[in-house]
């Protein structure tokens, strides 16, 4: 090798070594030499990320033994799983509530039951639906970071005065249908211009349609998609395609923008009523602050008054992946987030309700969502429900969403679509039991 070649190789080596050293500094777990560093991966970016960072800063200031390092990670649920498989997971992971069962089945999470008992974190401190989220096979796997409950949101300007209040707006699906027929607007060519309601908007919770009609997705040891309640729900959904025309709904819906944008169907006045979470008010404030809206419980079938006042609840969670380097310190941080003052500040900043049983009056008084008491009440109601407790939730949701699309595009009847979905989920469940649950 010539002297020039040697020099070039040495230079290259030096650059490589420098890069390794710098990158190691950037990603190192030892952000602080004087404290135990807890690495915390979270999905949130933007304002939500900033508010969680404030919580982390509060914890770091509150004691001098542990330093939590907050990292916003896209695709956090998949990366956490892969990092756990690789033996180098974060100490705390901010996942979605519907990940819990699947990750527990996959042996990816640490059982928090004993740590919670030691720290005095207990069921009585929480609204039942939110505590229940973290329980699977009688063990605790996660605690909430921020929760949500859902309600029907109504644009008061788009509905007649006689129904423009939470008290007078339709409470049943049948009454809602009549209102939709009354207020929806089509142009001369029959193209939809404003819909009173559309089951496909926002399209996030298709798995819940059977539950709104009284069905159960998991019944004992069976996954039950094709039930009389589901058929009834899908017949109701099918009615909207028939009411407006499948093509007309497709064309109209394709003009809807993202829910967090001014082009959102509800905020832009294209749909008069929509099922949405407590956080919707954040976006209304941001993109459509003059919108005159109110919220009320989602409707129920007229012949099932026992299903009145229900709410689909959801939750972002904090958990400790299996193989985390500092589980005790990680739980100390999780327990800090559960403190009433800390939780209320975070939930208020995120525009959400609190998962805790005890909520201060100041939380309600200063909350940015004017309907916060309704969302709190709905979360506490016995009818509050969350995603089914099974590691198969992703597949169940996928199959029901597909069945929904088959029905709403007119490709299949509700009966056909649900029967096909049931057949497929039976096969998947059988495989899951053998391969994952080792039954």
């Amino acid at each position: 090798m010539t002297p020039g070649g040697v020099a070039l190789t040495l230079l290259g080596g030096a650059v490589l070594a420098g890069t390794v050293a710098v990158s190691e500094r950037v990603v190192s777990r030892s952000a602080r030499k004087d404290r135990v560093t807890v690495v915390y991966w979270e999905k949130w970016t933007g304002d939500e990320g900033v508010e969680m960072q404030k919580t982390v800063d509060g914890f770091n200031k509150s004691q001098d033994r542990i330093f939590v390092k907050y990292l916003s990670i896209s695709g956090v649920e998949q990366k956490t799983m892969l990092a756990a498989a690789g033996g180098n997971p974060p100490d705390v992971a901010g996942l979605y509530g519907n990940n819990i069962c699947q990750y527990a089945d996959a042996n990816a999470l640490m059982d928090l039951t004993d740590l919670a008992r030691e720290r005095g974190v207990k069921e009585a401190d929480y609204i039942p639906a939110y505590w229940d989220f973290g329980i699977y096979h009688d063990r605790l796997w996660a605690l909430p970071s921020t929760p949500a409950s859902t309600a029907m949101h109504v644009n008061a300007k788009l509905v007649p005065k006689d129904v423009a209040s939470p008290e007078t707006f339709p409470q049943t699906f049948e009454a809602l249908d009549r209102l939709v027929d009354r207020i929806s607007v089509k142009d001369r060519n029959g193209a939809l211009k404003m819909a009173g309601f559309l089951p496909g908007e926002p399209g996030w919770w298709h798995w819940a349609w059977p539950v709104w009609f009284g069905g159960k997705l998991v019944d004992g040891d069976r996954i039950t998609i094709d039930t009389p309640e589901a058929r009834r729900a899908f017949a109701w959904i099918d009615g909207y395609g028939k009411r407006f025309g499948v093509g007309s709904v497709q064309s109209f819906s394709s003009g809807f923008g993202n829910f967090a944008s001014p082009q959102d169907a509800f905020m832009s006045g294209k749909v008069a009523s929509v099922l949405q979470g407590v956080y919707k008010a954040n976006y209304i404030r941001l993109y459509s602050k003059d919108l005159d809206w109110f919220a009320l419980p989602f409707p129920h079938p007229a012949d099932r008054p026992d299903l009145a006042g229900r709410s689909l609840v959801d939750e972002d969670i904090l958990c400790i992946p299996r193989g985390a380097a500092h589980p005790k310190e990680a739980f100390e941080f999780i327990a800090y987030v559960q403190r009433q003052d800390v939780m209320e500040r975070l939930c208020s900043a995120h525009g959400k309700n609190s998962p805790l049983a005890k909520v201060s009056e100041a939380f309600f008084d200063h909350h940015p969502n004017k309907a916060i008491r309704l969302f709190d009440r709905l979360a506490r109601s016995p009818g509050a429900f969350h995603c089914p407790k099974t590691g198969m939730f992703t597949q169940i949701s996928g199959e029901i969403t597909n069945a929904y699309q088959e029905v709403s595009t007119g490709a299949k009847t509700p009966k056909q679509a649900l029967a096909d979905a049931q057949l497929r989920i039976d096969g998947l469940w059988d495989t899951y039991q053998k391969q994952v649950l080792m039954r």
């Binding site: 090798m1 998949q78 799983m81 892969l82 756990a84 498989a85 699947q102 996959a106 042996n107 990816a108 093509g247 497709q250 064309s251 109209f252 819906s253 394709s254 003009g255 299996r322 992703t394 597949q395 996928g398 969403t401 597909n402 699309q405 088959e406 595009t409 490709a411 497929r424 096969g427 495989t431 053998k434 391969q435 994952v436």
Partner: protein, 291 residues
């Protein structure tokens, strides 16, 4: 002595690549073949299940649907992409002023990242206020719902594939510039017109390039992932755009069925191999190599 020293230096320089190839390509390849015969849920050790993943694939309705979608997509996107790329390459092979500018202009779209492209086309193909449908309405055509109607959604993806034909176009252009001018002159002396020259001189002379691009197009089409994943989450509507690679990804990273996904990966490899061999066999007599 010098030769062996040169070889040592050569191997030394190639070592990083050899290391990378062994660790990041060869090992995953062999490992995925092993995993395809196992039940592997990432966090548990793989357990041997023989051919049961492959047997399950044979009866998997969604697998068949995703495979059919992918093959239909390839059947539309590859020929259409080839025709457009050859056409553009021919136009860009003309002797006109400012050709360097035009060549850059037509190549630029293929540099756009897939995610940006998907987002852009979501707006263009929007059924209600999209650029394309507004144009169609302007000329009195009732436009389809490109994104929401299952009978149109695959066509949307096929049309989008044409957008990225810049890479193939550049290769065709290089091939066209390699065609000897003397052949065109001889054809003109025989009275050949444009179409005759194209059919009898240009296409036969660039046939190896066409074959190369078609094979690469088949491989790319069968692996297509980013644009449909972004534009049609979950293969919506009603799995009409659910591609093979999307189903593979969902099994691996959402359902944690790495063994099943590995089996799908090997089926994909065999399909690509088969289609490549069929392409080579079918075109054997129509591809002309110089010399």
């Amino acid at each position: 002595m010098k030769a062996s020293r040169d070889a040592r230096v050569g191997i030394l320089f190639a070592l990083p690549w050899i290391f990378g190839f062994l660790v990041f390509t060869s090992y995953p390849l062999v490992a995925s073949l092993y995993y395809s015969f196992t039940n592997y849920s990432i966090l548990r050790s793989p357990s041997w299940v023989g051919v049961s993943n492959y047997r399950e694939l044979a009866g998997d309705e969604v697998f068949r649907k995703s495979l059919a979608n992918t093959l239909l997509y390839a059947l539309g996107a590859v020929p259409l992409g080839a025709v457009v790329a050859i056409g553009l390459a021919m136009l860009l092979n003309l002797k006109v002023k400012g050709m360097a500018f035009y060549r850059t202009l037509f190549f630029l779209p293929s540099l756009v990242p897939q995610v940006a492209m998907g987002t852009l086309f979501l707006w263009i193909f929007n059924g209600d206020f999209g650029l394309l449908n507004n144009g169609l309405r302007g000329v009195g055509v009732t436009p389809p719902n490109w994104l929401g109607d299952p009978s149109w959604s695959k066509w949307t993806l096929i049309l989008i594939a044409v957008w990225g034909c810049g890479q193939a176009m550049i290769i065709y252009l290089a091939g066209l510039q390699d065609v000897p001018v003397s052949l065109y002159e001889a054809a003109e002396l025989d009275g050949a017109k444009l179409w005759s020259k194209t059919r009898n001189v240009t296409l036969p002379m660039i046939s190896p390039v066409i074959l190369f691009n078609v094979v690469m197009g088949i491989i790319g089409s069968i692996q297509t992932f980013a644009v449909p994943q972004l534009m049609f989450p979950g293969g919506s509507p009603a799995r009409s755009t659910y591609m093979f690679a999307m189903y593979l990804y969902d099994n691996a990273f959402q359902n944690q069925r790495m063994g099943y996904a590995s089996a799908m990966g090997w089926v994909m490899f065999l399909i690509i191999l088969l289609l490549t061999l069929v392409s080579l066999k079918l075109t054997d007599k129509h591809v002309h190599y110089e010399g």
